[in-house]
């Protein structure tokens, strides 16, 4: 029974252990004790989180004068990190929403962890602008609420306020989508648990799910609707993030290519991060039969496509700078490639334009170590992309007397490390306490490319 019979397609789940086998493989990681690899990873992540916590406390007590910003370069490390983390989040929505609309069955093994990654990445992104406010305890002033100042409202014309609504909506909708997707699996955990706290805990979380077909029918419609809403949402979020720059009058920022360029860059960096995370997860949690080499290959192919779109955007920016005939615009780009931050620019080009082309080779796509290294290279490249856009455009002001350089302080670096600590701590807690793979959806693709009749 259930042998691999299709000549054209390979099964998505490489080992056939039946429906109960899937539940056992995935849910045992929640029910049992984690292995040594998990503890080691958690220790590293939690240490980084502690570093970040110390740095954030220090800079909130002392103000953002602890950063390396100056009168000319008013945005640098923090906004780079903000855009970097928001971008990371976008692959999660792409996998859970867009691939669902495109009926890509391979997404079933990875959508849950990718969605979790989205939620955690958006949390990491939020840290930076909130600290940058200088008085983070007044962060609620970003929202329009009736107040004691005679109904003074927020300025809805500002792209920075659009960000508040875009990121806020994105976070809420992603978290709801993620939770709704988890309910059937939480019910499974409830039914597998013996009496006691665990059963009660999952009973509360699973909302009385009983697997009724009438509920499933509506549930699938709901997931499609949420996917349909999340797809334009994710495009709008990074479009609005790019508006922070594109609606300004800074040479190098004021371009109409920014929205599509940022969205593709976000998907590119997000998929790189999904690869980094899942290569660790499949090893630590023994999910090799679920997150297979075929999944890794598919994601590598997405990296080739989005990497080439990003490369095209780099070229287009240069062409338009020349074609515009605007000397300030031209200088901004020549300065990027040859000025004092040229090293950052060429790091970006090497990582984002050249490295994805290694994925043309099947030998590299199927080599987990190579893919892991290249995924980190792309992460680095995409971080530098945001750094280059932000810092090189600012550091040469209109007035040469205002020209300045920027370098991060220890506090800024520690905060960045801390954001990684937060991200990985949350992710590791997630794969420990919640089903990291969508059990119900994986069951529905178990027989894919397999003959099921005896």
């Amino acid at each position: 029974m259930a042998e691999h019979t299709s000549k054209l397609r390979i099964p998505l789940i490489t080992k056939f252990r039946g429906y109960k086998g899937i539940s056992d493989d995935i849910l045992n990681s929640v029910e049992g004790k984690p292995n040594i690899g998990w503890y080691l990873a958690f220790m590293v992540a939690a240490s980084a989180l502690v570093v970040g916590f110390a740095a954030v406390t220090y800079q909130i007590l002392n103000g953002i004068g602890t950063w390396g910003l100056n009168k000319t370069v008013g945005w640098a490390w923090d906004i780079t990190n903000f855009v970097f983390w928001v971008g990371i989040g976008h692959a999660g929505t792409l996998i859970s929403a867009i691939l669902l609309l495109f009926r890509q069955k391979w997404r079933t093994s990875i959508n849950r962890s990718a969605e979790a990654m989205t939620v955690f990445a958006v949390m990491c992104a939020g840290i930076f602008p909130i600290i940058h406010m200088g008085r983070p305890w007044l962060a609620h002033w970003m929202f329009p609420f009736p107040n004691m100042r005679g109904d003074l409202w927020v300025n809805f014309r500002s792209p920075l306020l659009w960000d508040v609504f875009a990121i806020g909506t994105y976070f809420i909708v992603s978290a709801v989508f993620w939770y709704v997707g988890m309910i059937p699996d939480l019910a499974s955990l409830r039914d597998r648990a013996k009496k006691g706290i665990r059963k009660k805990f999952f009973e509360i979380l699973s909302w009385g799910w009983n697997g009724s077909h009438r509920t499933w029918h509506r549930y699938e419609v709901l997931c499609l609707i949420l996917a349909g809403l999340a797809t334009p949402l994710v495009v709008s979020v990074h479009t609005i993030v790019s508006f922070d720059f594109a609606t300004s009058v800074i040479p190098g920022w004021h371009t109409t290519i920014f929205p599509p360029y940022f969205v593709c860059g976000a998907v590119f960096s997000g998929f790189a991060m999904v690869l980094t995370l899942l290569i660790i997860t499949r090893k630590v949690m023994n999910f090799e039969n679920y997150i297979t080499i075929a999944h890794i290959e598919a994601m590598c192919k997405v990296l080739i496509v989005t990497g080439m779109i990003v490369s095209l955007a780099y070229g287009t920016e240069f062409f338009i700078a020349w074609y515009s005939g605007n000397p300030y615009e031209q200088y901004a780009f020549i300065n990027r490639a040859t000025g004092p931050f040229a090293w950052a620019y060429w790091t970006m080009v090497t990582c984002n334009v050249i490295s994805p082309h290694f994925f043309w080779f099947k030998k590299i796509r199927t080599n987990v170590v190579a893919v892991f290294i290249l995924s980190i290279v792309v992460n680095i490249g995409m971080w530098f992309e945001r750094f280059v856009i932000i810092v090189t455009s600012l550091h040469r002001d209109y007035l040469p007397s205002s020209w300045a350089m920027y370098s991060p302080t220890k506090i800024e670096i520690m905060t960045f490390i801390g954001s990684f600590g937060l991200f990985f701590t949350l992710f590791l807690l997630f794969i420990r306490f919640f089903p990291a793979i969508n059990v119900a959806e994986v069951k529905s693709v178990l027989k894919y490319a397999r003959k099921s009749h005896e």
């Binding site: 039946g18 809805f156 609504f165 499974s188 509506r218």
Partner: protein, 175 residues
């Protein structure tokens, strides 16, 4: 709690359940519901399930979000406290579109999710009213309601067993 009686056929393979459902449909025996660990396709007609109306709710939710988003921005900027920002018009309509879009998506999504949980009667902490403990793992359950004498339990049982039901049992008071 209802006092309805149900005859449950528990299957190990979803295809057997689908076949049994087809036969029940042929014999004009109404199926109460099917309980499965993952969504089965091709059962909607057999269970006489109509197309879900959730998309309409989403549309209404989106329209409400769009209206609220636009109205609130125009009201705060033009009526409540008109503030001159760089000489821009008080009603800077085009600048209000991004936020209005986000509120549209937010309302559309949240209202749809709320409608889903309301319609399926799921809420936090509700005890799972499951026909069989294995239902969320690897059991596929077909439930037929034994309404008065119109349905012959023996006939239903025989249909279940010809389609390789692992277990056949009666259950009372399932919602």
């Amino acid at each position: 709690m209802s006092n309805k009686n149900f005859l449950l056929g528990i299957f190990e393979d979803e295809e057997h359940l689908v076949n049994a459902s087809k036969e029940l449909k042929d014999k004009k025996i109404p199926i109460f519901d099917v309980y499965t660990p993952f969504p089965l396709h091709g059962l909607d007609d057999l269970l006489d399930i109509k197309r879900s109306r959730l998309p309409y709710i989403t549309f209404i939710g989106g329209i409400i979000g769009l209206s609220v988003g636009l109205w609130f921005q125009i009201w705060t900027s033009k009526v409540s406290w008109p503030l001159n920002v760089g000489g821009k018009p008080f009603n800077s309509f085009t600048a209000f579109i991004p936020v209005a879009f986000e509120i549209t998506v937010l309302f559309g999504a949240l209202i749809t999710v709320a409608a889903f949980f309301f319609r399926t009667r799921l809420f936090p902490g509700k005890a799972g009213d499951i026909p069989d403990i294995k239902i969320t793992e690897d059991a596929f359950v077909l439930a037929v309601e034994l309404k008065s004498s119109a349905i012959d339990p023996d006939l239903v049982s025989s249909i279940f067993s010809t389609h390789k039901a692992k277990e056949i049992k009666t259950k009372r008071g399932m919602k």
